[in-house]
């Protein structure tokens, strides 16, 4: 199955920065190449470089020494890229509203118009559903993993609520219900290769930025507030968008496994919406009120990268074009 496949191959570099990372990773730890100068942090080259650095903390890559994860020179290079990414996000966002105000807006009912789920519901073709799943697979095949890094960094009520939530994400003790596995099963039902990392070559930078932001927040304790802000935003929006995607997918001739992931999320994330706001965020901000600004940043920054991916997909789909870099990888039958 997709979620227990071997480490993926190293992706092809997309420019000098990702080339520096892949060239380093092919050698032994301790021999990192120098980081070239970079400016376009919201682009394929830098986002892939960040993605490569972060994946060392999840599954690594086939043929790459696991010792690279904490190689000081590579960690330093990653830090420079991260600062560039975070600075860019803060520039783009400017002053962000407080967390309560942002969440209040997110709770406003929406019919999904202008979102990928709304587009797929109204006029989605099977190839566009495949592209959506391929782009989202970078996160959903490790669903909940980045947020798990918040567990040892929260305490008391917030930690207890977070663990209860994550237990559900990981299937409540039933391997066949692990959300990442439901996503892999759904990919298979749409003829997509569900192997971990199989869709990275096809993924545009926006798809990597979505998951890079979670990894950035997850790997820095200083950003535990932002990580939980990002998590809250995902959980608040998920139930309605999942309902639209169930409708979108069922319009086509697909087995139940081809929409079960989203069907599960209609109910699961209605619960998680409550738990993450009332159980996790309320407790976190009561116990550590100084995290408010970081929570607000996480909410806003995750909205920015989600919107970037939505714009990339919709902007191309509306012109009948692919929103990916290449065709998604299909199952070899």
């Amino acid at each position: 199955m997709g979620i227990v496949s071997a480490p993926p191959p190293l992706p092809q570099p997309r420019g000098p920065v990702s080339e520096m990372v892949t060239a380093s990773l092919r050698a032994e730890p301790g021999s990192a190449k120098p980081l070239p100068s970079f400016d376009d942090v919201c682009g394929d080259d830098v986002q892939l470089a960040l993605y490569l650095c972060y994946e060392l903390h999840y599954r690594g890559f086939d043929g790459v020494d696991d010792g690279w994860e904490w190689d000081p020179d590579l960690v330093a290079a990653r830090g420079a890229l991260e600062r560039g990414f975070e600075d860019r996000l803060r520039d783009e966002l400017g002053t962000v509203p407080g967390s309560a105000e942002q969440i209040g807006r997110m709770l406003a009912p929406s019919d999904g118009d202008g979102s990928p789920s709304g587009f797929l519901r109204d006029e989605g073709k099977p190839w566009q559903i495949q592209e959506y799943l391929a782009a989202r697979s970078l996160y959903h095949l490790k669903e909940a993993d980045p947020q798990t890094w918040a567990i040892p960094r929260t305490h008391g009520d917030a930690q207890s609520a977070l663990v209860a939530l994550q237990y559900d994400e990981y299937g409540g003790g039933r391997p066949e219900r692990v959300h990442a596995r439901l996503f892999a099963d759904m990919m298979s039902a749409w003829d997509l290769d569900p192997a971990y990392g199989a869709q990275v070559e096809a993924a545009p930078w926006q798809a990597m930025a979505v998951v890079n932001l979670m990894s950035l927040f997850g790997l820095h304790r200083a950003h535990r507030g932002a990580l939980l802000g990002q998590f809250a935003r995902a959980e608040i929006g998920s139930s309605p968008s999942s309902r639209r995607l169930v409708e979108a997918f069922r319009r086509h001739d697909v087995a139940e496994a081809g929409y079960r992931f989203y069907s599960e999320h209609v109910e699961a994330d209605a619960v998680h919406d409550q738990l993450v706001r009332r159980g996790v965020l309320d407790a976190l901000l009561r116990d550590e009120p100084e995290l408010e600004a970081d929570v607000a940043f996480g909410l806003a920054a995750s909205g920015y990268v989600d919107d970037a991916l939505a714009g990339q997909l919709l902007g191309n789909w509306e012109r009948g074009r692919s929103g990916l870099r290449e065709s998604p990888r299909l199952i070899s039958r």
Binding site: L107, A108, P109, Y167, R243, V266, Q274, L275, R278
Partner: protein, 67 residues
């Protein structure tokens, strides 16, 4: 879990679902019975849910129209 423990129920602040520690068995007015094995179950109170008796966040429409 011990069957003798009292049920753990959280009422909503304003509109929203009732949260119940799962698993739960829900008896509906028409005599049918549904179950949920989630660790926490959100029960619809606005009657708008398409997944009734379970919440699907449809109360957000209710919240907006009520204001």
């Amino acid at each position: 879990m011990s069957g003798s423990e009292p049920a753990d129920v959280t009422l909503p602040q304003g509109r929203g679902p009732i949260l119940v520690r799962g698993p739960v068995t829900v008896r509906l007015p028409d005599g049918s019975v549904v179950t949920s094995e989630r660790p926490t179950v959100a029960l619809c109170t606005c009657l708008l849910s398409e997944r009734y008796p379970f919440c699907d966040t449809s109360h957000r429409r209710h919240v907006r129209s009520a204001k």
